[in-house]
């Protein structure tokens, strides 16, 4: 079985460039944690930590029931899979912060891409454009759906439609640096989503 390790929740701050060993490195800054452990799941086949991120004062009644054992209420709840050994180390109410990661480690970052609305073939599927002049009338249109020989349009045929706002994981991002007093992680390269969007960082 693939080893599953620790993770944390965070918010994307934005991108910048820093110098490392006389080289310019593009980095994304993520404000990560501190997260509180709400629940520890220790089943036969599934071990996980349920984490809460961003403290709030008020929540509706059904949601606040989740935080009965913790005492504090949180806006974002997400689970991070861990192995049985790690899960047994934590208990409800523990705090997880950026120190679970170390410099140079590889992580996977999960987030939601920017929503692009209803978009055409060129933006959504990288289709090429038809001629704009000489009476072509086929500027940015989609091509043919099917032929009489193939039969009706097959399911999964690429067409215009809603694009973006989907869950995407970027794998093997290197941690360039950690600033513990500001709860910030700098990873090399870009991550999905706009600024201020919630992301999950998991050890690779």
């Amino acid at each position: 079985m693939k080893e599953v390790k620790m993770g944390i929740l965070g918010v994307k701050i934005g991108m910048t460039e820093i110098y490392q060993d006389k080289e310019l490195v593009p980095v994304t800054a993520i404000l990560a944690g501190p997260c509180k452990v709400i629940e520890v799941k220790m089943n036969e086949n599934y071990c996980a930590l349920k984490l809460g991120f961003v403290k709030v004062d008020k929540l509706n009644k059904p949601l606040s029931g989740v935080f009965k054992n913790v005492g504090e209420k949180y806006k974002v709840i997400a689970e991070v899979r861990v192995d049985k050994e790690t899960a047994s180390k934590y208990k409800v109410g523990d705090v997880i912060d950026v120190n679970v990661f170390s410099k140079g480690e590889l992580v996977n970052v999960t987030g939601f891409t920017k929503g692009r609305g209803f978009s055409g073939m060129i933006k959504r599927w990288n289709a090429s454009r038809g001629p704009m002049s000489h009476g072509s009338k086929h500027h940015r249109k989609a091509g043919s759906n099917a032929t009489s020989r193939i039969g009706p349009t097959r399911p999964g045929k690429r067409r215009p439609g809603r694009y973006g706002n989907e869950k995407v994981t970027i794998r093997n991002l290197k941690i360039i640096d950690i600033i513990p007093d500001k709860n910030i992680i700098l990873v090399k390269g870009g991550i999905p989503g706009p600024k201020n969007s919630v992301v999950k960082i998991v050890k690779n």
């Binding site: 994307k12 820093i18 974002v76 910030i184 919630v198």
Partner: protein
């Protein structure tokens, strides 16, 4: 995490980003030249395991970018061909910028793009 959530945990992420950026600058270099000056830029060039310093002398035609990430463009003419190079002030490879002389007449523009031929 079932859908996209935008949380304003930080009031202004850009301000925080600038603080982070400033932390990693090698050393804050002061600008000792202006647009229109003639400067000598000493740039370290690494080729394999050897490194040398190359000097580029010309007119500063442009300075742009925020304080923590500033660029400047130097232009000179070599055998009738215009050559322009853009440097980062904070780059560790730009060892020093030497001021050769000020312009005879102070330029009235921010960018001296008129020095470029047609």
């Amino acid at each position: 995490m079932k859908r996209m959530r935008i949380l304003k945990v930080v009031k202004s992420p850009d301000k925080l980003l600038r603080e982070i950026h400033e932390k990693y600058l090698p050393s804050k270099k002061e600008l000792n030249f202006k647009v229109g000056d003639i400067v000598k830029v000493h740039q370290r060039i690494v080729e394999g395991d050897k490194s040398r310093v190359q000097v580029f002398e010309g007119v500063v035609i442009e300075i742009h970018g925020p304080i923590y990430n500033r660029f400047f463009t130097v232009r000179k003419e070599v055998q009738g061909v215009g050559v322009e190079k853009t440097f980062r002030i904070n780059s560790p490879n730009v060892e020093k910028v030497e001021l050769v002389r000020n312009p005879l007449k102070k330029p009235r523009r921010k960018k001296l793009t008129y020095l470029r031929p047609e």
